[in-house]
């Protein structure tokens, strides 16, 4: 029934326009009115969320698309194309959900709340743009649009070392974007060059159509540029050093959006852009992607054990979980590369669960960062050695933390399990095709380390004797707004844990149309 309605209204544009209007509206709510900014931001992000949920009920085999010509010069054509398929839908849904919950969770923000909400809404605009655009120019612009609000978010609302963290984040990721831009230039102009007489068209479709004629060396080189740009964003070891700093200093809302949706831009870029435009390059790079993924997984998990700051531990766990996403992608590529007669339906599994893992990690990490944020501002410290026995005093907090930790370590029945399970399964198939099944040891190591540091951290913070190192007499459990945001997320985590097919259905329609390189 929604199909007819959506045929009439440009809903994808609305997903960009509503956050933009929200950002502008809150920007001008200075002075006395600034305490109402959260309601305005809540309304705008709520409407966006409703639209995103409605989109789930569109006949999901159809691809929504809106296309406007933007720049039509003599030899360059740039369009304003928005497209939505299963992958975009999940990411848009995740963005809309987390932005709305961040606004709810940050209701008590009292330092210039109007600008805080402006930044949140501007970030939503950029993120929606990245996940919807189907034109390289628009994609790059939106990619950069997400950067500036996050920079100000960290440097205005962050912790004591916020200036250092903000500038490090900004310059690190901006340089990565510029390398990606060179890669984008290369694919677009090569696409124009292989078809003489064709003008340089920046749309994904035009590049993908020409990708079959790209030379091998070109693909390998340019895939390296794009992969670097995306891997820094994910982040993959050894380009991860900006992440712990940015997370530790960022305010809770910033951390949730940074880990929950911004890191996904990296893996989204690899799947949407790099694999499609440069299939041969992707196959050539498969082993390197695998090595990077395995190092990220093991190093990320290993570094978690050493952390005493709860938030820093969660930040490192993001590196581990995003490594899982990369592992899924590598598994698909390696299966195609080494299997005697690759079967498309098996090759899809890696990508499919990589996408599911992106979605799952977004939900779970949001809970974790909200819990860490609460810990920081309610208890005054996030140092694990100073905490202890909080479960008795703060039962709701302890429940949410446990759900988050359990989901993150991959407990069956919660959403985190399916992502890891699927990725490791697909990797097993790929390792078997390679004849190197022993590689699976790294995954087992990661699972063990994950379970280890989460349970250990939980034991030290929630259970045992109540801490005497900090004053708990004035500490109250999570507020109603915080509890609401956390409860919604926990319910969704359990829902998708029991019924993963609800999300996998969308991913299946996406991978069914997705050309896995080499198949």
């Amino acid at each position: 029934m929604f199909d007819e309605i959506f045929a009439e209204i440009p809903i994808l544009i609305l997903l960009l326009v509503i956050p933009l209007v929200g950002a502008v509206a809150t920007l001008f709510m200075g002075g006395e009115r600034q305490k109402y900014a959260k309601y305005v931001a809540g309304a705008f992000s709520g409407v966006t969320l409703v639209l995103a949920i409605l989109l789930m009920f569109v006949d999901n085999t159809a691809l929504l698309s809106e296309n406007y010509l933007w720049i039509d010069a003599a030899n360059i054509r740039i369009s304003f194309i928005l497209e939505m398929d299963g992958l975009s839908l999940l990411m848009v849904l995740l963005t809309a959900l987390l932005v709305f919950l961040v606004v709810v969770f940050s209701a008590s923000e009292s330092d210039r709340p109007n600008y805080f909400h402006t930044l949140i809404m501007a970030m939503e605009l950029g993120l929606m743009g990245v996940y919807l655009s189907a034109d390289y120019f628009l994609f790059y612009i939106m990619w950069e649009v997400t950067l500036i609000p996050m920079y100000f978010m960290i440097s205005w609302y962050g912790g004591p070392r916020r200036h250092y963290a903000a500038i490090k984040f900004f310059i690190y990721t901006h340089i990565a974007s510029l390398v990606m831009l060179i890669g984008i230039f290369a694919v677009v102009f090569e696409a124009a060059a292989v078809n003489p007489g064709v003008i340089a068209d920046f749309s994904f479709a035009a590049v993908n159509a020409a990708s079959g004629s790209f030379g091998e060396v070109f693909q390998v080189l340019v895939f390296g540029l794009l992969f670097f740009g995306f891997a820094v964003k994910m982040p993959a070891v050894p380009f991860h050093t900006w992440l712990p700093d940015a997370h530790v200093e960022a305010p809770t809302g910033g951390s949730v959006l940074l880990a929950g949706v911004m890191l996904k831009m990296g893996s989204y870029g690899i799947i949407r852009v790099a694999l499609n435009a440069l299939p041969d390059g992707a196959i050539w790079w498969a082993e390197i992607i695998l090595v990077v993924a395995l190092i990220s997984i093991v190093y990320g998990a290993y570094a978690c054990i050493a952390q005493t700051d709860l938030k820093k531990m969660v930040a490192y766990s993001s590196i581990n979980h995003m490594g899982m996403v990369m592992l899924g992608i590598a598994a698909s590529l390696l299966y195609v590369k080494y299997a005697a007669s690759p079967d498309a339906s098996i090759a899809q599994i890696g990508i499919m669960f990589a996408v599911f893992q992106m979605f799952a990690h977004g939900l779970v990490t949001a809970v974790l960062f909200m819990v860490c944020g609460y810990t920081g501002h309610a208890l005054g410290t996030r140092e694990i050695p100073l905490l202890g026995g909080l479960a008795g005093k703060l039962p709701a907090y302890a429940t949410f933390m446990m759900v988050g930790f359990m989901a993150s370590l991959g407990l069956p029945g919660l959403v985190g399990f399916w992502g890891e399970f699927g990725v490791i399964f697909s990797f097993y198939v790929a390792a078997e095709a390679m004849g190197m099944i022993w590689l699976i040891v790294f995954c087992l190591l990661s699972i063990m380390l994950n379970a280890g540091f989460y349970i250990w951290a939980m034991q030290r913070t929630l259970f045992g004797r109540e801490t005497t190192k900090i004053d708990l007499s004035h500490v109250h459990d999570v507020s109603k707004a915080e509890g609401f945001a956390l409860a919604v997320l926990c319910v969704i985590i359990a829902l998708f844990g029991i019924w993963p097919d609800f999300a996998l259905g969308y991913i299946e329609t996406f991978v069914a149309n997705f050309a896995i390189p080499g198949v």
Binding site: W70, I71, D72, A73, A74, N75, I76, F137, Y140, I141, E144, V145, L147, I148, F152, S155, W156, H163, A166, I167, F170, I171, H174, I175, L178, L181, I182, F185, A186, F189, E190, A192, A193, P196, G197, I199, A200
Partner: protein, 501 residues
Amino acid sequence: MVDIDISWIADTFGSITPVLPMVLVIIGALLMPGIHLLLKRKNVTCAVSLAFVVVAAVFNVLLLLGHYTGTYYGLFTYDAFSGLMILLFQAVAFIAILIAGPSSETTRLHVGAFYSLMLIATAGMSFVATASDLLLIFVGVEMVSIPSYAMVAMKKKDPRASEAAVKYIIIGGLSSGLTIYGISMLFGLTGTTNIADIAAALATQGYTAGLVIALATMIAGYGFKIAAAPFHMWAPDVYEGAATPVSLFLATGSKKMGLVVYVKVFFVMFVTIQAAQPFMTESIQYVFAILAAITMTVGNILAIVQGNVKRMLAYSSIAQAGYMLMALAILSDWALTGAIYYMFAHVFMKGGAFVVVAALITAGVGETLKDYRGLAKRAPLLSAIMLLCVFSLAGIPPLAGFTAKFFLFSSAIIPGLGEPVSSQWIWLAFVAILNSAISLYYYAKIVKAMYIEKGESEEKVKVPVAFTVAAVLCVLGVIALGVYPEPFLYYCSQAALAIMP
């Protein structure tokens, strides 16, 4: 695009139509001292000179929209390129004059003369844009340089201004000497000073020692005007020492005039003889490519260590000139389109930044990074404008600087309309993109000072309304050129095509 009937202009003004925008400004320049003498009101003089620029600009825009081409006795040619460049110079003059009125730095004594000089310099730039003869171009450049020396020196009470003016005159004299030497050599070799005829003569001659000297001295001579490294040393001192409206005028206007000369002389010359003299053309292309790479790198690296915002902007102007010089290395219509687009983007973003600097100096805030601390609370609108302008200069989308860099850098990969990808200049695109990354660092320092660091004073900054108007106009230009480039790109490509043989 738009088509309007402009035959009434040609009917009314007859043979002077091609030089009409220039003549109107010259009339204004001649009247200005008299008007000031009679009315003795600083703001009225400012307003009248603005009115002359606006009227000239209106006629110029009408001629541009009507796709007018014409020549004034073979000396001056008005076409899509010169029209667009005149529009650029008029925009610069408009912003500079608008803020010169309320600025505390401009002279209180010789108000009539100041505006007169500024209008003469504007006319001189238009002169360069329309001239098609080496000697006329030389005269036009002097017509800009000499008033500029005087305008820099007019900030009398500041010893830095006197130092800057002396430096500027000496360097300016050296550059004029080099240029006229090169022109005379070229005249000796080819027997003409008309650029098209020189190109035709060079097509049949090979490299000679005389030609090398002629080209080298001319590139160096006009290189001083552009402040291309290694001819850039004067620029930071002069921009820092001069009154900020004058710095704005020099950094956004005078520099563009140098680039216009490069385009009119070297671009035209070598595009014409490209087929006949491939070796000569290619070697000159590499000269410009290296010049561009050095200029952008030197400008960006030296800007990092500056603590004075005006000086930082001066070094950033040097770097920006480096980007625009890429067009001469690539030598194609698309590159020229990108460079013209960049020139306009640069006027708005650098102009906006200088307007904010001038406003803050007038308001008594100061001009160092230290003074800018905590400015976001004291002057929210000006800080926001500065933020947008410097982010645009750093090439962050969706602002004008990004779009312009996008067009210009893409021409290093796909040089011409409908041509295949060429690997020849990809290294130049890499250098340029790397430079954009470096530049973000010092631009971010300005933003950091304004928005993140805490200042000593909390007092609101009050600035005259003219500054706000000028800054808002600039920022609207930055956003418009960034978000909706299509219509303007059309006029830029028309201008580039007018230059191509």
